[in-house]
Symmetry: C2
């Protein structure tokens, strides 16, 4: 029950297909790579490299921040993780590779995944099909989450 909500793919399944993908891409299965991937796969937020590094340091005290950056870049090249697009300067990452969308709280910067099947089934405007070849289409919703709404309300009352 304390497992992360994630479609119906278990962590173990993710780790297995990750290892498989590394082998077929000739990426060596180092301790660092396995741990960085596992940390991201179990994260419920969409952490930046620094956050991941901080979390991993607890069990890998010599892990360098550079390795986290380098490894995430390698994973992204091989489509094992995704860089999330944001307006902030620090890049954030996710291991969830299946089709989904993001809601971002502009106040606390929390990012949440959601599914939107009826949007996915929608076809894009005709003029866009002329533009080139499309690899994916995603929705980003911006707003203020309930938690932050409550906090801001308190501030007003002060």
């Amino acid at each position: 029950m304390s497992e992360k909500k994630r479609g119906n793919t278990s962590l173990q399944q993710m780790m297995e297909s990750f290892e498989e993908a590394c082998r077929s891409a000739d990426l060596k299965l180092t301790h660092q790579r396995l741990e960085i991937y596992r940390e991201l796969a179990t994260a419920t937020d969409h952490p930046c490299a620094e956050t991941l590094h901080r979390r991993l340091l607890k069990h890998m005290p010599t892990l360098s921040l550079d390795t986290v950056y380098r490894t995430l870049a390698t994973f992204a090249q091989h489509h094992l993780v995704k860089k999330v697009q944001t307006v902030d300067s620090q890049a954030r990452f996710e291991a969830e590779m299946s089709q989904h969308h993001h809601v971002i709280c502009d106040s606390c910067k929390e990012i949440m995944d959601f599914q939107w099947g009826s949007f996915d089934a929608f076809s894009v405007p005709g003029d866009i099909e002329q533009w080139g070849s499309i690899t994916n289409k995603n929705v980003t919703i911006h707003g203020t989450c309930r938690k932050c709404q409550a906090t801001q309300q308190e501030v007003k009352q002060t």
Copy 2:
């Protein structure tokens, strides 16, 4: 005819409402602000601060890059321009504030605006309405534009 395609708002109208907005926000109408805004408003791409700076230097040789950054940040705070969300490290900006969406070429990084009225009319999944208050929802399409498809084809043939 050589005018930028832009809904049906002319540059002159944009400049006027920009000046109006500055006055009511107590932002002084400096030469730098006017020129930076005009340059962004007439740009058909979605330039980063450095690109804007480079373009403006031709007519304002002493304009500092810091002023471009600072001014764009001020404008964004006052909702006069928007920071575009991308996966790249350099922030990119646009003056177009009306509802629209983006197609991004992953190869040349070109960003194009498009309208999608039927999507705008769509309401978001029910669970998202629970999440908090939504200020906007936007689509980003990723892919490869025709120009880059052609280039990559050439490379393959070499």
